[in-house]
């Protein structure tokens, strides 16, 4: 009843395709030797896709039996073994498809067929000792298997040596998806499951955007916000109009094949194909390490153009459904852009602030603190989707807003959990998206039309290049740091399209040429991801685009940069110039006001809003102008110079430890001894982060002598900071 064929594709990643005789999709993980223990029953069609990751032991030549010592890979092996065991359970069949002959029920000794869920009540004799009920777990089971496939593919990718250096991950994942899709198609002779737009927009996209928003380099983003908005709004409009109108021109030129594509259809198509996709950009740019300004320009644009894309897409769609269109409607459409964008922003702000407030009170239930981050962000996304506002903008704003407060309010462990979960979910999402892109490419019906497809490709590139050139020429006059021609080229070339276009094209109302649109979209996506994705890295090298600074700034640079910031803010105040620093300072003031507001009720050491009264530091001896005046919540110490940590013994006058190995100890050392050692140790990333946090702003006065409270945000891991300063 069972027959399987194992095919090894020996490129370090061995993909075994086992064609068994069952209708279930199981992922069997085989260790080394591809023994697929898949006992399947019944007369149905089964496709088993086994991804075998060849775990190569360090010191053994290939070909030796795999039960040699794996050492630290035992953990991986155990998972594999478990999966193996799970797959050893026979899979029962689903309702057999109509074309298959009625199943000959010949239960093997191990397995039983249950075409109805649950127990078999018609069997007369003995109690079922063992039964299989696939229906019961079908949906989650299949979801988990897809996720498993995606994750194993990603693992395999990272183990495959030189390949990641040349081919970006997204390409490989699409290829895996293509293979899987091809297999499924080959076996079932029908289209494989496609990525449903709902699943994409509601489940797969939010984690990625949340992750992007949470780890957005805030300062850089806001410094370049004007330029980013310029590209996002105007650039997208330019692209949409350009591509839409010129495609219409192409359609007019080829009336035989493209006669029934109207102007509105072309504009609709333009609106969905013109948008740069954050997922694709993120995955490709992550690997090429260009300078931060360039990265934030492309990335910020891809995030913010969602508002424009969403509006234009819905606008043209509703225009298509309306019998007549008047000028008023177009104007209203323009207003909608503003409403959608700002609406998303406000929703995001609202939920972000709520999350900040809530995180304030999580001190007694720290374990669920990370949950609030995810819940509130997702809620903001769903709410804005409900109101047809820009979900991406909402979730990004929510993440950016709540990040500082949440980090201040939750424990270190919760912070780590949040970061790890975000990274994990976004990674899984991204992998799934690309694999599904590959799978969905295998369609039953593709409509191909050379002029349309080729002209779309060309026009996309052309209009983007023109748009970037023109817009940058204008915006460079207003920027401090001009965007160079090389950067412009990378911005234009890095406009990758991805899964958002793909989902949007499926959502179009049916019309004769819809298939053509789908095919064209797929071609454009594949082209941008493969061709542009693979060549951008060599181009960056070739054009000598400025790369990201590898080294962390030194402590001195850190300090001096901050001092310069304060200096500039002060000078701007003197000049009366409402410049960047002015607004930044105002925002910081607002931020701290909110911080005070959220912490007024329950000051506990957890939140560490502390301050230390140090009247000696006041210039001119005037307490009201005391810059670093503070009072301490924790220990109640109000006098300067007192030991802030009563439990910690004051630093010992220990002799300097000899040798480099001692530098790892976390003892406090007298500054005098540092000079004796005279050794400069590299500052680790965390240490650097702590030192950075040391210098986060500071004090500000309430305008009254009585209320000279200066609240300060303390996020310093003292030990790490010290051990790295030593």
């Amino acid at each position: 009843m069972c027959a399987f064929v194992c095919v090894h594709v020996c490129v370090r990643l061995c993909v075994c395709v086992c064609v068994c005789v069952c209708v279930c999709v199981c992922v069997c993980v085989c260790v080394c030797v591809c023994v697929c223990v898949c006992v399947c029953v019944c007369v149905c069609v089964c496709v088993c896709v086994c991804v075998c990751v060849r775990v190569r032991p360090l010191s053994h030549a290939p070909g030796l039996p795999c039960h040699s010592s794996y050492g630290y890979r035992m953990a991986g092996l155990c998972t594999h073994a478990l999966l193996l065991a799970a797959c050893a359970l026979p899979c029962s069949s689903l309702t057999p498809p109509a074309q298959v002959s009625p199943p000959q029920q010949q239960p093997l000794s191990l397995a039983l067929n249950s075409s109805d869920a649950g127990l078999l009540l018609d069997v007369p004799v003995a109690l079922r000792v063992f039964s299989v009920d696939y229906h019961h777990v079908q949906a989650p089971f299949e979801i988990v298997l897809w996720i498993m496939l995606a994750s194993l593919a990603k693992l395999g990718f990272h183990w495959s040596g030189r390949v990641p250096a040349v081919v970006p991950e997204s390409c490989l994942l699409i290829m895996v998806g293509l293979m899987v899709g091809g297999v499924i198609y080959g076996v079932r002779h029908s289209a494989p499951p496609t990525l449903s737009a709902d699943a994409f927009f509601l489940f797969l996209l939010p984690p990625i955007v949340l992750d992007a928003g949470y780890f957005l380099p805030g300062r850089l983003f806001f410094e370049n916000l004007g330029t980013i908005l310029w590209y996002a709004v105007l650039g997208t409009l330019w692209n949409v109009m350009g591509i839409g109108l010129s495609l219409y021109g192409v359609c007019l030129l080829a009336p035989e094949s493209l006669g029934d594509v109207s102007l509105l259809h072309c504009l609709l198509f333009g609106s969905l194909i013109a948008a740069v996709d954050p997922v694709a950009v993120l995955s490709v740019f992550q690997e090429i390490h260009v300078n931060e300004q360039l990265h934030i320009l492309v990335f910020g644009e891809s995030l913010l153009n969602d508002a424009v894309t969403v509006v234009l897409y819905k606008l043209f769609e509703s225009f298509l459904r309306m019998p007549t269109i008047s000028g008023v409607d177009v104007l209203l459409g323009g207003c909608r852009v503003v409403v959608v964008g700002l609406g998303g922003l406000c929703l995001g702000l609202f939920f972000g602030l709520l999350a900040a407030l809530t995180s304030r009170f999580t001190s007694r239930a720290q374990v669920i603190a990370p949950l609030f981050v995810f819940l509130y962000s997702y809620l903001s996304y769903l709410t804005s989707e409900m109101l047809h506002l820009s979900g991406i903008m909402a979730i990004v704003t929510c993440a950016v807003t709540m990040k500082q407060y949440v980090e201040a309010n939750v424990s270190q462990r919760s912070n780590t959990s949040i970061q790890y979960f975000l990274k994990m979910w976004s990674s899984v999402s991204e992998t799934l998206i690309f694999i599904f892109l590959g799978v969905s490419t295998i369609q039953d019906v593709h409509m191909w039309d050379w002029p349309f497809v080729c002209s779309t490709l060309l026009l996309c590139l052309l209009w983007r290049a023109l748009g970037v050139l023109l817009l940058t020429a204008v915006v460079n006059k207003l920027r401090r740091n001009a965007v160079t021609f090389r950067d412009q080229f990378i911005i234009a070339y890095g406009g990758l399209r991805g899964a958002i276009c793909f989902s949007l094209v499926f959502l179009i109302d049916d019309f004769p040429k819809k298939r053509l649109f789908i095919t064209t979209t797929i071609v454009v996506i594949l082209f941008t991801v493969f061709v542009q994705g693979m060549t951008i890295k060599p181009l960056v090298e070739l054009l000598e685009v400025k790369k990201r600074k590898r080294a962390l700034p030194t402590v001195s640079e850190e300090i001096h940069s901050r001092i310069l910031d304060h200096l500039l803010a002060g000078i701007e105040d003197v000049v009366g110039y409402w410049g960047q620093h002015y607004w930044k300072d105002k925002l910081v003031l607002l931020y701290y006001s909110f911080l005070i507001f959220t912490t007024r009720w329950q000051p506990t050491p957890q939140f560490s809003l502390v301050s230390k009264c140090d009247l000696h530091q006041c210039s001119n001896g005037r307490p009201t102008k005391c810059i670093s005046c503070v009072f301490e919540f924790e220990s109640g110490a109000l006098l300067p110079g007192k030991n802030p940590h009563p439990g910690v013994p004051p630093p010992q006058q220990a002799p300097p430890p000899g040798g480099d190995g001692q530098h790892q100890t976390h003892t406090l050392q007298e500054p005098a001894q540092l000079q004796q050692q005279g050794r400069a140790k590299a500052v680790s990333a965390e240490g650097h982060h702590s030192i950075q946090q040391c210098f986060i702003i500071n004090p500000f006065l309430m305008y009254s002598a009585v209320h000279t409270l200066i609240y300060h945000h303390y996020r310093l891991d003292v030990q790490v900071c010290l051990s790295n300063a030593i």
């Binding site: 030194t554 670093s628 030991n643 630093p651 050392q669 400069a680 310093l716």
Partner: protein, 195 residues
Amino acid sequence: MGSRASTLLREEEIEEIKKETGFSHSQITRLYSRFSSLDKGENGTLSREDFQRIPELAINPLGDRIINAFFPESEDQVNFRGFMRTLAHFRPIEDNEKNKDHTASEPLNSRTNKLLFAFRLYDLDRDDKISRDELLQVLRMMVGVNISDEQLGSIADRTIQEADQNGDSSISFNEFIKVLEKVDVEQKMSIRFLH
């Protein structure tokens, strides 16, 4: 400019300031109106109290030092020329200036002069060295966190260690320049003075 006849700006003065600082005509007039609005006493000079009346400057941790930077040695009043001279440090470096030959006197907004301005923020006693105490003072103003003196001291020592090359436990101006060579000072220390 109102009825303050004695404080009207004369054309020759504008020309001189233009030559000295490089500001344009409109920028100078605009800054003059700002100067006049700050000058409550209407005597053509600014005192320290005039600066301290700017609310945001009071909040700025470096506020007092910035104010001090406007006043030349041991003086309590600054006139418009001095005001402009200080502000000239923050003029952006134009492209055509970058390639200009080095004239006898470097323009006020050159990189070196900008760095000198920043250096003087630390170096209160003007001995051309940032000692450990001076650095600690500035750090304390910047940080204000629940960080003890020893911890701040280690950070200060680390900073000096990174910069110090001649082993005198203090940072001289040349060492300061060297430390900041990777930082884009021209861009960081420039304000766009609107026309």
